[in-house]
Subunit: 289 residues, 2 copies
């Protein structure tokens, strides 16, 4: 079975997700892997250098090193030029800051340049349900389109920077550039499919399977961004993981400990090292065999 390409495929070999079920893919998986970092880099630098290494800090998609993660490929230079009008500005968000909140008027989509976000819906009594974690190259804000108001909170889990894209620009350009139109549709469809996978996870899997699925998904997405397949830093708390996976923080902690005892992973606070990738996959696959 599939956790997007997690089980057995390299994400870089596939244009789009395929197969069925359990698609926990990132909100906006790249159409093609970004080659910016050929070699996995030390985990400590996980989000260190998303700024263009070359020179210009111009707000322009055409020379953004994340463009292959968040934009359609195969545009003409002319179209690329047009696209630069899509991003109105950039915005920095401090750790813990809200990019937007539930109820806010919706006018913008955001492309994450650096940093890590969570999105969550909150009930009146303040309990929150984390609906996703988003990283560089992914687009957030889609929840607001339906009602012109945001339906959830988007909160930075570390200092972050986003490209601010007025949705009206996106729509205007989409009408002019069919490839962009298709891309926008795919991003939204991908999010629908991802949530289908989360539903499967929440409805059918046990705690160990959920956590394995979660780790494998993060690893895959980080790997697509040039990071190691064998280590990662969790940007979120145990409680946030638990919220996303439908379990209590104590259960998350216990499950980490269990994996650790079994020699599958090594847990040092938020630093996770994968010692036995195959075993992790096996636990995940257990849910379907």
């Amino acid at each position: 079975m599939m956790l997007n390409e997690i089980s057995g495929h390299e994400v870089s070999n596939h244009q789009e997700s395929h197969g069925h079920a359990y698609n926990l893919a990132d909100t906006n998986r790249p159409s093609r892997i970004v080659p910016m970092h050929a070699e996995p880099r030390p985990i400590e630098h996980q989000q260190a250098d998303a700024k263009p290494a070359d020179s210009s800090f111009k707000v322009a998609c055409s020379n953004c090193n994340l463009r292959e993660l968040c934009l359609p490929v195969g545009l003409s230079t002319d179209e690329m030029q047009q696209l630069d009008g899509m991003v109105a500005t950039r915005k920095k968000i401090k750790q813990g800051g809200h990019l937007y909140s539930s109820g806010d008027a919706f006018t913008m989509l955001y492309a994450i340049r650096t940093g890590f976000f969570k999105t969550c819906v909150v009930s009146e009594d303040g309990r929150e349900q984390v609906t996703g974690f988003q990283m560089a190259g992914e687009i957030i804000g889609l929840d607001g389109i339906v009602s012109d108001k945001h339906n959830c909170n988007a909160i930075a889990l570390e200092d972050a920077e986003v490209c601010v894209m007025p949705f009206s620009h996106v729509e205007d350009l989409s009408r002019q550039i069919p490839m962009l139109q298709r891309h926008v549709h795919k991003i939204m469809s991908r999010e629908i499919v991802r949530e289908n996978g989360v539903m499967m996870l929440l409805a059918n899997m046990r705690a160990e399977e959920r956590l394995a699925a979660f780790l494998l998904n993060l690893l895959q997405r980080l790997h697509a961004r040039g990071y190691s397949k064998s280590e990662l830093i969790l940007r979120m708390t145990r409680e946030e993981i638990g919220s996303y996976l439908g379990m209590k923080l104590e259960t998350v902690s216990r499950t980490f400990s269990k994996f650790s005892e079994e020699g599958i992973i090594e847990v040092k606070q938020k630093n996770i090292r994968i010692l036995d990738h195959d075993k992790l996959k096996a636990i995940f696959n257990a849910s379907t065999c």
Copy 2:
């Protein structure tokens, strides 16, 4: 809190969903209630007469009595005319038949004219996760856009008829008619928001709350289509309900029995009569207070 408009609002009074959390709304809630049946009709006729009562069986959106459920409002007659080109044909599906299956090439979206569908993802071993139930006026097939292959099965739970819309037509017309473009975006965003609500339900609610939420959601959607607020026919089995809600069929059955004993509903097989709508809401709201 909100189950879309379920708790305290009439769907007909609101253009789009608002508030936050727990949005179990239908995939494509109408922008405006369809006035085709001013009075609630006997439950027995729930899907009897969706065909145009007047005369023409022409495949045309412009004279479809569901157009206010599935199309944007406020189009000029000229634009309406254009829209008629969106639907290539109609297709009848027998109960139990697949409209599409996981892995099928994606080329079409479908607007449900009559009947009732479920969508589900299936793992290799054949276990299925129901990801949604869809009724007249709702659009299905969006899952296929991201990968040009369908990611789930769409199965008719009763004899059904759909409008077949080549996605390329939809995209072409969207570029010409901004209001249609916006509508398509809203439909996809609505599905994202709905799934957020299901995630909340699966991760945080107990069995009674889930079933109450499910019933209230169905009632609301049926009411928006002219049916009674106090009775409904379940088109799906206990097992399918359980799959959607992340519980076993026995638990679904027991919970129905419990509601019945408490005088909240009356259960006669698949026929459900709501005796105490408020108490049902209270159970649902319990999850957030």
